[in-house]
Symmetry: C2
Subunit: 346 residues, 2 copies
């Protein structure tokens, strides 16, 4: 697999010169300055274009491990929430509407046939479906090799299509009861940590459930064995159809030269695996927010990314990434619109 | 002076019930949840109305102490930046345009007659002007008692007018070379601290200038003496026309039942004095961002406010408050638009 290109060094240097020439004291824009430079480098254009076409893809799927007591919610919630996204009344729907972000939800592995939906909606939702639920990772691989390939191709295709259609910035979101368990397993495997350092409370489990979840992740890691060293094997053994697709989506965005805003645990776990598959991918990633999940902070640190927001959000769905989008727009606006010192005549 | 009303307790409790009934896991919205409840309580309405009419007032003024070597920039920059706000090409102009915030700049004490401006612009800019520059606080009071009253009335009138015209959320911003010196003095006085704990580098002064600035603030505090215990005396002795007007603007917003997003050091120094003048004002204040100035964090802590953003911004102008506005809009959106669990049918 080819190594991707880096963001434009020439545009970065040009953007840094422009930033330094703005009629603002040196460094006064704080992180907005560096963020604007990163967007300009990704776009290869100074000043950067406004981020008008921003799209979130929510990768939905169920997880066999959710049948084994790792979540505060029953698996049937996954399908119910997918319907809520389609109805536009989920948390991320409200945020996306407020900030002009287009949302697409895709069923990669939901344990639901969505037979109640009209055919157009159902066909669009399930066109990339790999299977119903992924394997219970402490007992079996999440995906067969063929399923992994299909999931990876689906994620890449979704990113390619969005970019061909004009997307300037991609966001990845997730929906799937139990999905913090495979995400924690993926991070543990890549960073060579035991589950106790990585596993968190997800949507709010109690102490005994947390211990059980930690045990299952350790079992999954042990079952996976030395395959932990290969990022694709990590996706097949410890991930899921939805997480593999999200990983490929992030990679494809980077390969196509489009920056990505990461969300919480699932998104960042996929970004970590993407960086192992194709080093340099992280240069295209922007960390939207810090989640309370310890694994998310560990993965961000390993990626060298510092999140823009820290609001204690743990909703998933891409909600943290969407909430961070206006900060990126702020950054682009200052590098585009602020006068240069030489224009002030003082 | 009357004590203001608190935000609606009934609306707060109603908003908390609605938050708890949303189809999101308990606590998953993080700070967006509490913020939405606060806005609802301030509006006395559940769900809260969208924050469509948001206005920033930039209080501009010069400071006699700036002639005594406390800033990295010459005082003439104040007038030049006022012209940049009027032209819409300052940092905060770009941010405000990106986030649909109306900006008004007012000259309370700029050492410039703005004779080059057209009469309509000049008249609007200077209609509340109290004096040209405020007194050098280490040597003399910033304002006479009469000037203080005029500045306070100006700030209150500006807030009243904006609210009468439909403003749903007010922001305060500042412009004035040297203004971090009186702001640090005000915070030191109110919190009974010496300058060394409070003074910061402003727009980027070097170590000898920082020591000199600290000495001047201590001189100002000593000169002020026991008047430090009276918040109005603090404004007259250690503040300025622009800072006194901003303080009254914040107070009037609170008295009129309109929430305020605070900005950096100047805005928060004024909020601290406002809370001393009329305890309970802080219930109407939302901290927009954390500035690198140590005094800002000390004042926020004393006010019991935790900022929404921490992006290392130190531009002033109200820029941090404007950058935080989309976070408030996110909060309002989720409490307005997200489905209730009982509507999901699961």
């Amino acid at each position: 697999m080819s190594r991707m290109s880096a963001p434009s060094r020439a545009a970065r240097e040009h953007a840094e010169r422009r930033l330094g020439a703005l009629a603002t004291p040196p460094g006064a824009l704080g992180r907005l300055g560096g963020l604007a430079v990163q967007v300009a480098a990704c776009q290869g254009q100074v000043p950067p274009r406004p981020l008008e076409d921003v799209r979130l893809t929510i990768f939905a799927g169920d997880h066999g491990v959710a049948e084994h007591g790792v979540s505060a919610f029953p698996p049937a919630i996954t399908g119910a929430m997918v319907r809520t996204f389609l109805a536009g009344s989920a948390g991320v729907s409200a945020l996306a509407a407020a900030h002009d972000v287009r949302v697409r939800v895709l069923d990669l592995g939901v344990d639901d046939d969505f037979a109640d939906l009209d055919e157009t909606t159902r066909s669009e939702l399930t066109r990339h479906k790999v299977r119903r639920s992924s394997g219970a990772i402490h007992l079996e691989d999440a995906l067969t090799p063929d399923e992994l390939e299909r999931a990876l191709e689906a994620g890449a295709e979704v990113a390619r299509d969005a970019i061909a259609d004009g997307a300037q910035l991609l966001l990845s979101g997730d929906m799937g009861i139990g999905n913090t368990t495979p995400a924690a397993a993926m991070i543990s495997a890549v960073l060579d940590l035991r589950a106790g350092e990585v596993v968190g409370r997800g949507t709010g489990i109690d102490e005994p459930t947390l211990r059980h979840k930690t045990d299952l992740v350790d079992q999954a890691l042990d079952r996976c064995g030395p395959r932990r060293g290969d990022p694709r094997e990590v996706l097949a053994a410890l991930g899921s159809a939805d997480l593999a697709a999200a990983t490929a989506y992030l990679l494809q965005a980077a390969r196509s030269g489009v920056p990505v805003v990461l969300d919480g645990l699932m998104s960042v776990a996929c970004a970590l695996v993407a960086e192992r598959i194709d080093p340099g991918a992280r240069d295209w990633f922007i960390a939207g927010h810090r989640s309370p999940e310890p694994g998310q902070s560990l993965a961000l640190e390993a990626l060298g990314l510092d999140p823009l927001l820290d609001l204690g959000m743990r909703l998933g769905e891409g909600s943290g990434a969407v909430t961070a989008v206006p900060v990126l727009r702020s950054a682009v606006a200052v590098l585009r619109e602020v006068a240069l010192l030489e224009e002030l005549g003082v």
